[in-house]
């Protein structure tokens, strides 16, 4: 069941209706049932997979919770009787036991995740025997596995007591709006609002509904059109190289942004409509002035997951500290100090790449991010010197714009590994920006297209004369995308001042606000692409 299907709209409407009709106590159990239904739609196998994760996480969690409590009670009881060494030794014994249960749970669940990802590779599934392995990748497995594992690691770290109610843990793991693309909420942040009773509040509900409509608009009206274009441009890399490949790279940035943030808007909006608060997953990422800032603004919950559970544990682990001490002796303080940061950054970004997909493209994508982050870090003293020499530059708006554009282009370039079939092909396409720029042909096409949009000739008939039909969209589609992107920029600018919905509500009369939202719904219904070509409605992030 895709977010963009009619079945989902009906399912959501029914769930929301029941959510406010059932007694408060039954609200979260209702969401659990709804999430089960949502999973069942994707096939019963998915339900089995997610149940196995819930049960193993629950059992490991109970064990960890008991061990943690036992340790606390024992130390309290024997406070005066134990000396420092005895206390230390007791803690070490308990830690070993806890580590065993944590490791068991992590190895099993990440093992299942890795196995499904590897077995789903075409080459491997064909080698094993046909396409029958398609079912092996359950809906949103990366997301629910990461959510469940964050729960069990936090429990191991003593952040909160174990959840006794398996239903609540199941809902946290498989809450249906978050299944497809996150956000990767943590148990201690979403738990309270997810299980709490919520009374119907028209204003809160309305805000949620508005965000859902905005999400659909971004996804169905803008992203899906851009994706058709991106797919056309990238499916024939031999013809569409040079400036066309550059355009594909930029269009993909816009498409992915609209697709992913549109999906998150729907997710957060569904939560809002039920009074459930979720953290933001994007904070105007294309406004970032450097790669560090970008990763603090794009897919935030994934970034913090990798930072908290992979980067820090590796970089401050005892073996790493020993290695650092040794490195400082050999290489000197300055270089030695970098050892944990370098190793942990590269491992973290390698893992981030693999999480997005098993393939060299994703490995290169991840490692490139890591390498550029490290290079930027190394260049920091240079930047500081530069800014000390030109102190007024950091307040200059044009310099800000330059930094934003530079970061956008750099990240778009890295993201190219996402859209072409292989690493060599991606490199070839990037190289073609310089070797076969095709500027003449590109600007000829672009000029014709602009002319067509200006003249308002939105018919298909003349398209073949222009050769634009090969791009997979009509001039009308280009016009819709252009208007959509302008709207996105306006909303982005409003966001600097606060919640755009609030600003619109305060500045405009109520009737006009209502009319505008109705208009937005109509725009989605009229201009939303419903399955044009390929599988356009599928969210890009579904595959992860």
């Amino acid at each position: 069941m895709y977010f963009t299907s009619l079945v989902f709209i009906a399912f959501l409407a029914l769930t929301l209706l029941l959510y406010y009709l059932v007694p408060a106590k039954a609200q979260w159990p209702l969401l659990l049932v709804a999430s089960g239904v949502f999973y069942a739609f994707a096939g019963w196998q998915g339900l089995v997979y997610v149940s196995v994760t819930v049960v193993t996480t629950y059992l490991a969690g109970l064990r960890l919770g008991t061990l943690g409590q036992t340790q606390k009670d024992y130390l309290k009881e024997h406070k005066g009787a134990l000396d420092r060494e005895q206390r230390k030794s007791y803690k070490a014994t308990m830690k070993k036991k806890k580590t065993f249960w944590l490791a068991l749970c992590l190895v099993f669940n990440f093992g299942v995740l890795a196995a499904t990802k590897v077995l789903s590779l075409k080459a491997i599934s064909t080698a094993i025997g046909g396409d029958g392995f398609a079912f092996l990748v359950p809906l949103g497995i990366s997301f629910y596995t990461f959510r469940a594992m964050s729960y069990v690691i936090d429990l191991y770290r003593g952040k909160f007591p174990a959840e006794k109610n398996i239903g609540k843990l199941a809902l946290f793991t498989a809450f249906f709006p978050q299944v497809i693309q996150g956000p990767l909420s943590r148990y201690d942040t979403i738990g309270q609002t997810l299980f709490a009773p919520h009374k119907f509040d028209a204003a809160v509900f309305g805000r949620g509904a508005q965000r859902i409509v905005w999400g659909f608009l971004k996804k169905l009206v803008v992203a899906d059109r851009l994706l058709v274009l991106v797919r056309t441009l990238t499916a024939a890399p031999e013809s569409y190289n040079g400036a066309y490949a550059f355009a594909a790279m930029i269009l993909y940035a816009a498409a992915l942004y609209c697709d992913f943030t549109g999906g998150i808007d729907i997710t957060i909006g569904v939560g809002e409509a039920m009074g459930i608060e979720m953290e933001e997953n994007f904070l105007s990422p294309f406004r970032s002035k450097n790669i560090f800032e970008y990763w603090r603004r794009w897919h935030i919950t994934m970034g913090t997951w990798f930072k908290d559970y992979i980067f820090y544990p590796i970089s401050v682990s005892r073996p790493m500290m020993k290695l650092t001490t040794a490195a400082r002796k050999k290489l000197g303080d300055k270089a030695g100090r970098r050892v944990p940061i370098y190793i942990a950054t590269l491992i973290t970004w390698f893992a981030t790449g693999i999480w997005h997909g098993v393939g060299w493209n994703f490995v290169v994508w991840g490692l490139l991010n890591g390498v550029i982050i490290l290079l930027s870090q190394e260049c920091m003293p240079l930047y500081e010197k530069f800014h000390a020499r030109f102190p007024k530059l950091s307040e200059n708006r044009w310099y800000d714009a330059f930094q934003i554009l530079r970061t956008f282009l750099l990240l778009s370039l890295i993201r190219s590994f996402d859209i072409y079939a292989s690493v060599p092909m991606t490199l070839r396409q990037i190289g073609s920006f310089f070797t076969h720029p095709q500027l003449g042909a590109f600007f000829h096409d672009a000029g014709l297209l602009l002319g067509f949009i200006r003249e308002g000739d939105f018919t298909y008939t003349e398209l073949d004369k222009l050769g634009l039909d090969k791009l997979g969209l009509t001039p009308l589609d280009f016009g819709v995308v252009a208007v959509g992107l302008v709207l996105l920029f306006v909303v982005g600018a409003l966001r600097r001042k606060g919640d755009p919905r609030e600003i619109v509500r305060q500045k405009l009369p109520a009737w006009l606000v209502t009319a505008l939202w109705f208009l937005a719904v109509f725009v989605v219904l009229i201009f939303g692409l419903y399955g044009i070509g390929f599988d356009a409605q599928q969210f890009i992030y579904n595959q992860f």
């Binding site: 230390k88 980067f311 820090y312 970089s315 401050v316 650092t324 400082r328 100090r337 940061i341």
Partner: protein, 75 residues
């Protein structure tokens, strides 16, 4: 405490670490700074700060971080 302030000042000489109380909340320290600080603490005080102690409450101020170092030293 003075030595800890020295470690932090080496990372960001422009910040007055003795008074700042929102080092994480205001993004003064990033993840690389945190790892550098932990590495340095390990080197100078022989105290290992585990990953589960990397939470804003422990890193928002030099005083909080110092309290953590002392607590871990005691263990």
């Amino acid at each position: 405490m003075d030595e800890l302030l020295e470690i932090l000042s080496e990372l960001h000489p422009e910040i007055d670490f003795s008074t700042h109380t929102a080092l994480i909340d205001e993004a003064v320290l990033d993840s690389f700074d945190i790892v550098s600080t932990i590495t340095e603490i390990n080197e100078r005080f022989d105290v290992a700060i585990p990953a589960d102690k990397i939470v804003p409450e422990n890193f928002n101020s030099a005083a909080a971080l110092w309290a953590l170092v002392e607590e871990l030293e005691d263990e």
